[in-house]
Symmetry: C2
């Protein structure tokens, strides 16, 4: 974590991906992120993948560098502690991040009554508060019908939870913009983001809505082709696969040069009376272009293809399984300054990413492991709320707070 | 656009998705975003989808609400104008956003020499400056091998350019954090983001790396199932499809209740000696659960399924094509305050999204259409740089600036 947001504290009440991912991003830029969980863990505490011993690799990965407090908010005193953490005075305090329903102990008005300039970011499923998750939102957004093999007639779900991550990134923006505004005006605010809106806004921003409304139709399923330009996957002689694209004239020329297909491509241009320097023509002739290129890829192992395409400056990349990416790709290793091998208590060593952004004005710092559930219960109660050891002990005895839990 | 970032100016030098998307997000929160393009348009100016008249719906959708200046930066004077825009004095100025190579007119050190506290965000393909696009990054990240039909043996590309959007959202964070830091310390900085790092960091944050390194294996392709819990798509009696999930015990009970399968599910529990209240057991028994549920979905039209699942509070959603989402879903309509129908000059009317975030302390304002290329050339030269009409006329005559271009 770098220290750019040092002095800012975010109290996170969350589950699953969107809010935890946002808290992770804030923490990796220096904010003190305190995650509140129920004693014994919340809905996502044992989410797969898990180790043989049942420890969640998902939870550990999403909560790197946070402080964890375990708290029973069904108890009145537990709720008071949670609200006191969220509404502490001080410039850096008073920032709440949640994807749980904003009611009960997370009711904005109740919190605002305790700190008028509170900033609260709430991620919901739908705008009306009804439930929606990444998988149901993606189904509604249209992508499953244009993803997958060209003649397949069923929807294809994504595996990467895109909308959760976009909502998370948006939530971070919401915190930063609101905190900037609060410093300028003294006013806090309640910021809402619906997961479904992140998908539907993206449909607008990338032109999918205009395409239907203006052109009266939408693109068909095009397999691994890239719509409107040239992009295609190929199998290599050693049974690997590569993705090759040529969005620009320069990338197209590099591809033609590396594969020695200049004369063949002139014949394709003549055959269809098309100038292949234009990307829309490469899309129109994509099947033929692919047929011309395929033998070159099929006749060479990945290593030779890599050398030739890199030498010409083509825009391509190998397909990799998760395991291949980790085993073979230096970008996914400690050679990349973004990564560091961490020791995660109860789990072991693995490679973990810090902040995606490199700031010239801030050192990267180290990547911190996730807490054990409730690891910082006592520390947070003492440091942030000033509770005495005796009081903290009594809260433990009453089951109002918990942890650390192995 | 709301006005939370009013007074902040971002000069964008960009093409394709990541930087334009970031500029769009900044503009929709009130920043004055000035996009610089070559006279006649850049690499992405005619990117598909296009209208019958060849106007890019993609370009129009990604540049909503920006100001456009057309400038020949291969000319020395053109380059000076670009750099003057980027390094203007004033608190809100001196912020550059680009996904073009940071050299020549976009060299950070050269710009910093003109304004020492410059903030420059540069999005690259790979960290070492080599080329990578969303499609080649996604191939390398592992997702294509776990996406798609369960027994399909080839990679399945995503259609939604996830990493471009994540990099865009990260770039916005980079601007906001750097500007906060500059106001505190007076120091600017150069912020770099590699598209490939956004993917590999996400592999870490979502537990995919730990899964391989700690457990020694990775999840298999699981079709439209959701890994580690229950999620499945079903066909309806009217040939629609729905996605149904049950991550939590509550969602599972709602699904069982709506479908009237409580007794059958007890038989499944007995058959496999599993407690289906636990999500990992629902994943283990997913094929059988699906077989039990399928007749209920196959026997009802979507409308009846919708009513029953909503009544019980199940977590589900219909699959929709892009066209169906726009035609049928009130979330993708002007009934959603995020959306507004706009008139885009040269293109026509379509539904466009504003900011995904709802701030209680700021009015949403209206959604602005994209500029025509070079629409604001004269306005920006006069207002920001204080050039005279005569000077601006001479720049047009010399072909150093251009626009507006229909």
């Amino acid at each position: 974590m770098n220290d750019l947001l040092k002095g800012m504290r975010v109290v996170e009440a969350s589950a699953f991906i969107a809010a935890p991912y946002a808290g992770l991003v804030m923490g990796q830029m220096g904010a003190d992120v305190i995650r509140i969980d129920p004693v014994g863990g919340g809905l996502d505490y044992r989410r797969w993948p898990v180790t043989a011993a049942g420890r969640s690799l998902y939870w550990a990965s999403l909560n790197k560098g946070k402080r964890s407090i375990a708290l029973n908010v069904r108890n009145g005193e537990g709720r008071e502690i949670a609200q006191a953490l969220m509404t502490q005075p001080g410039d850096g305090n008073g920032i709440v991040l949640s994807n749980l329903p904003a009611r009960g102990w997370l009711d904005y008005q109740a919190l605002k009554a305790k700190r008028d300039d509170l900033i609260m970011i709430n991620i919901t499923g739908n705008r009306d508060g009804s439930v929606a998750l990444d998988y149901t939102v993606n189904a509604a957004a249209g992508f499953p019908f244009v993803t997958g093999p060209e003649h397949y007639d069923r929807p294809v779900n994504h595996v990467m939870p895109v909308w959760d991550v976009v909502a998370a990134m948006s939530a971070v923006q919401g915190i930063l913009v609101s905190e900037r505004h609060r410093r300028g005006t003294g006013a806090g605010q309640f910021v809402q983001i619906a997961l479904s809106d992140t998908a539907f806004a993206t449909l607008s921003h990338l032109g999918f809505i205009a395409e239907v409304q203006v052109n009266g139709d939408a693109r068909p399923r095009a397999g691994n082709h890239v719509y409107g330009t040239y992009g295609q996957d190929f199998e290599t002689a050693d049974a690997r696969r590569v993705m090759v694209t040529a969005f620009t004239e320069r990338h197209w020329q590099a591809l033609v040069e590396a594969t020695g297909t200049a004369e063949k491509m002139r014949q394709v241009e003549s055959l269809f009376d098309l100038d292949l320097k234009k990307e829309e023509n490469r899309f129109a002739a994509r099947e033929t272009i692919t047929a011309v290129l395929r033998p070159w890829f099929a006749g060479r192992p990945l290593a030779n293809i890599r050398a030739a395409l890199n030498a010409s400056g083509a825009c391509w990349g190998p397909y990799q399984t998760f395991a291949q990416a980790i085993a073979e790709d230096p970008r996914v290793s400690a050679a990349n300054p973004m990564f560091e091998e961490i020791e995660q208590p109860g789990i072991g060593r693995f490679l973990a990413a810090g902040c995606m952004l490199d700031f010239s004005g801030a050192s990267r710092g180290s990547v911190k492991p996730a807490p054990i559930l409730g690891q910082h219960t006592d520390e947070v109660l003492a440091e942030v709320l000033g509770l005495s050891s005796a009081k903290i002990g009594a809260l433990h005895d009453a089951g109002i707070v918990g942890g650390p839990m192995e």
